[in-house]
């Protein structure tokens, strides 16, 4: 027992963390798939994409070997189309809506095709957008994550100069720091940020945290408008005894370390419990297993019916050998010598559905316990409530209130996770576009 790093050989790490959704090996393979597409009208896949990518059009463009056009079709709706092709839960978005599902046929491999075009564009550095002549307007953006980058790109296209303030040392936000390494590599995330910046007119200032190194008042003074896209960051605490023990870790930090420090430098327990059943929980559990943990158990206080992750993600965890325990809520973490050695869980039951139709878990009073040496908490993330309070921005439990992307403060706009509390990358990209549209209107440029 015990938490240690360096459990596997470099070869094993490389194998365990290789691309989970490999690209088309050949042009022929992409063409066969592209030609399967029916080219639906008012296509369900397109309507199921939060950024509204014209999926049939970009696939048709692959089929006609107009790859530049295909990449442009994707990027015009979603400048992070390359990253989204790797991290989107397509099984509940575009591919889940593909009409082939009604024919009991495999849906079109939309993400894989999207990767095909966008990867070619990034590798060849096709700059498919041209900035309009400078308008002389300047916009500050807080956060170089998907919302901020997407907003910046639209603004830059319209001839607005953008400065992004980012508290980390790299751009990309959750794409760079919060997603399993077998989906996107740090190199890819860096390349994607650079590709987006290729349009020009966007500067990122790193190590700049709002409320610490920069103030909203200064940004308001120095810029014509401000867009807040700082996401969420604080892991929700379990608020149970033993949470302070050594071996209890936040999933976000765990995932961040894997991305930041290298596989061999991230310590993992032998028997790991992961609390939660969202996408982050899956990413933490599967990666704990892939780092060499012998046993990984995922615990969720509701049932499979209510789980926030997709079936596809659950399947990844189960194929990795993670155990799943439904209707289990952490009650106490026990340890010795300050180190975790046991997790006590309450056995839950589901109540009758409430007005919203959701069934709440109810403690049955019975418990069970697991011998573990590591507990990873993935019970959700909390918005920066203190920060927005201090800025006097209206919010609901820390989530910024907006109307057409505008906050209650004139000239200050917001979008992405800091508004919605934490959704997919693709949702943040759309929020960035919406924010840009409102800013352009606000600056009387539209």
């Amino acid at each position: 027992m015990g938490i240690t790093s360096n459990r596997l050989s470099q070869e094993q790490y490389a194998e365990n963390f290789s691309d989970i959704h490999p690209p088309f090996e050949t042009t022929d393979a992409a063409l066969v798939e592209a030609n399967r597409c029916l080219f639906c009208y008012d296509a369900p896949c397109m309507k199921s994409c939060p950024t509204g990518i014209d999926v049939p059009k970009f696939i048709k463009q692959i089929a006609t070997e107009n790859i530049k056009g295909s990449a442009h079709t994707i990027f015009v709706s979603n400048i992070m189309g390359a990253g989204c092709s790797k991290v989107c839960p397509v099984e509940k978005l575009c591919e889940g809506a593909c009409v082939y599902n009604f024919m009991e046929e495999e849906p079109i491999a939309i993400a894989k095709l999207q990767r095909y075009s966008t990867e070619k564009a990034m590798v060849a550095n096709w700059q498919l957008f041209k900035r309009k002549e400078s308008t002389g307007k300047k916009v500050a953006i807080v956060g170089a994550g998907p919302a901020g980058l997407s907003c910046a790109h639209v603004l830059s296209r319209e001839g607005i100069d953008v400065t992004i303030y980012e508290k980390e040392t790299k751009g990309g936000g959750l794409m760079t720091y919060g997603i399993a390494a077998y989906k996107v590599t740090p190199q890819f995330c860096e390349d994607e940020v650079n590709y987006i910046l290729g349009i020009g007119g966007i500067e990122i200032k790193y190590n700049q945290e709002l409320g610490k190194n920069i103030s909203l008042a200064d940004l308001q003074k120095d810029f014509d408008a401000v867009y807040l896209g700082m996401g969420v960051g604080l892991a929700r605490q379990l608020e149970i005894p033993g949470e302070e023990l050594e071996g209890v870790e936040d999933a976000i930090k765990f995932i961040y370390n894997i991305r930041d420090k290298g596989f061999e430098n991230v310590a993992v327990g032998e028997k790991v419990a992961v609390i939660g059943m969202g996408m982050t929980a899956i990413d933490a559990a599967t990666q704990a297993k892939r780092l060499g943990a012998k046993e990984v158990t995922m615990l969720y206080r509701r049932t499979q019916e209510e789980m926030p992750c997709t079936q596809h993600e659950l399947d990844i965890a189960m194929l990795d050998g993670c155990k799943i325990v439904w209707l289990a809520s952490p009650k106490e973490i026990k340890g010795s010598d300050g180190k975790v050695n046991e997790l006590v869980c309450s056995i839950m039951n589901l109540d009758e559905p409430d007005a919203s139709g959701r069934r709440s878990p109810v403690d049955t009073g019975e418990t069970f316990s697991l011998a573990v040496d590591m507990v990873i908490k993935a019970a959700g993330q909390m918005p920066f409530e203190d920060l927005v309070n201090a800025l006097k921005i209206q919010h609901s439990k820390g989530k910024i209130n907006i109307k057409d992307s505008a906050t209650n403060i004139s000239g200050v706009f917001a979008g992405g996770d800091c508004v919605n509390g934490g959704k997919e990358v693709v949702d943040a990209v759309q929020a960035g576009k919406d924010g840009a549209a409102s800013i352009i209107k606000y600056l009387s440029l539209a």
């Binding site: 063409l31 066969v32 030609n35 399967r36 029916l38 080219f39 639906c40 009208y41 008012d42 296509a43 369900p44 896949c45 309507k47 199921s48 089929a63 809506a97 009409v99 082939y100 009604f102 024919m103």
Partner: protein, 422 residues
């Protein structure tokens, strides 16, 4: 089990599938492989003048993921020595006496050349001759091939020369590179040909290399018009076949159907429109001789299902069903119906009707799935929605006759019935 054996001008073959005069029939090794695979007969690749071929020779039209929807060649008639061809023909005949052996001919444009060539070929024991009046490239410039078939006067003359010398049945192969194959067909029948075959290839340019800007097939920076064939030409072949099958003169002789036959279904269609047998080339060039197996089995099963005992039970049965526009029943009306249980909400019917037909489909917006229904009062029954629908029997055409009685355009006018109701 139905009897699929064929008797064409007394030339018998175990099935009605012959390989057309083309590369698959240009030498003993191919022909023996074809016979072993089960082909009923071959038309040996055209013998005649000495020629020299170029490289490359073929090009194709692909459609989506489907390769060789259409196929194009600039190859000439046989470039092998005549004596070698004749010897191999005799050898194949000896090894497979139950298969049809037809030899395609294209002699120089004089009576003697034809007579000499026919004599030599008949000496092999071949069962019949096919006159190549159709090849559209290379030979035409020398007054042969399509140059003969495009001019009924020349065609008649050549057939007359041939009939003076021939002791075995003569089939004349017609070119489609004319506004109608009937004038030449008539001239050939009047000159005594025992049968007709059609179509030969259609002059074409299949495409251009968008890097070099040179059309294909590429020959040292240039190209020429080639002869087009394969699945893409089937509809044109069927139309030309029908005109020959309906003409009082040309319909007197048996017809061998050619042009994009790839499956037993294609073959049945040619035969329903008057062909006594069919000839195949592109499908074999695409997939090899093994396709004969399903052609025979499929034909047999279809005949059993339909209760046809012999080929003659159905040959020509659809010829009279192609009529003149004026004779169509104007009181017939059908309306599309979308089976909601089968609909996959792809919207292809809607956008086709909306942009290109009669705006007869209603779109009820849904996220992500729209629902589509037919506006029955607007639908003209054009079939477009059904044609684009990717789901089998999702869209059906339901008959809603305007009136029970037959009414054609002539009577319609006489009655002064209203026009422009759609």
């Amino acid at each position: 089990m139905a009897d699929i054996s064929s008797n064409f001008l007394g030339i018998k073959s175990p099935n009605p599938f012959w390989l057309a005069s083309a590369p698959p029939t240009d030498k003993k090794i191919n022909v023996l492989r074809a016979f072993e695979a089960g082909w009923g007969g071959v038309v040996w690749k055209t013998l005649g003048s000495q020629v020299k071929n170029v490289s490359s020779r073929y090009s194709a039209l692909n459609f989506g993921s489907k390769k060789m929807m259409g196929f194009n060649n600039i190859e000439l008639i046989s470039d092998r020595p005549l004596d070698l061809n004749l010897r191999e023909i005799a050898e194949c005949l000896k090894l497979f006496p139950d298969r049809a052996m037809i030899v395609s001919l294209m002699a120089d444009n004089d009576r003697n050349s034809w007579h000499e060539l026919i004599k030599k070929v008949e000496d092999t024991g071949a069962h019949g001759l096919e006159l190549n009046f159709g090849c559209p490239h290379g030979m035409t410039e020398r007054g042969m091939g399509a140059a003969v078939g495009q001019d009924p006067v020349i065609a008649r003359m050549v057939v007359e020369w041939v009939m003076e010398a021939a002791h075995i049945p003569v089939i004349t192969k017609l070119t489609p590179n004319v506004h109608s194959p009937v004038p030449t067909g008539k001239a050939c029948v009047e000159a005594g040909t025992n049968a007709l075959s059609l179509i030969n290839t259609i002059q074409s340019v299949t495409g251009i290399d968008l890097d070099t800007l040179v059309p294909n097939p590429y020959v040292a920076g240039k190209s020429v018009f080639g002869g087009y064939c394969g699945p893409a030409v089937k509809p044109i072949a069927l139309k030309m076949l029908t005109t020959i099958a309906q003409d009082p003169t040309t319909s007197k002789v048996p017809i061998s159907g050619i042009g994009g036959v790839s499956t037993w279904k294609d073959a049945v269609e040619f035969m329903l429109l008057g062909a006594s047998n069919v000839q195949v080339c592109t499908a074999a060039m695409n997939h090899g001789f093994r396709i004969i197996e399903d052609m025979c089995e499929g034909l047999n099963n279809w005949m059993d299902d339909k209760g046809f005992k012999t080929l003659n039970d159905f040959i020509g049965k659809s010829v009279e069903k192609i009529t003149h526009w004026e004779d169509l029943d104007i009181n017939y009306h059908h309306i599309a119906k979308i089976n909601q249980d089968k609909c996959i909400h792809c919207g292809l019917c809607y956008i086709a009707c909306e942009d290109a037909s009669h705006q007869s489909i209603n779109l009820a917006y849904g996220k992500p799935y729209n629902n589509y229904t037919i506006k029955e009062d607007e639908c003209v029954g054009c079939n477009l929605c059904q044609l684009v629908c990717p789901v089998h029997e999702c869209i059906t055409m339901e008959v809603h006759r305007v009136a029970p009685e037959y009414l054609n355009w002539i009577d319609f006018q006489k009655k002064g019935l209203p026009l422009n109701d759609h």
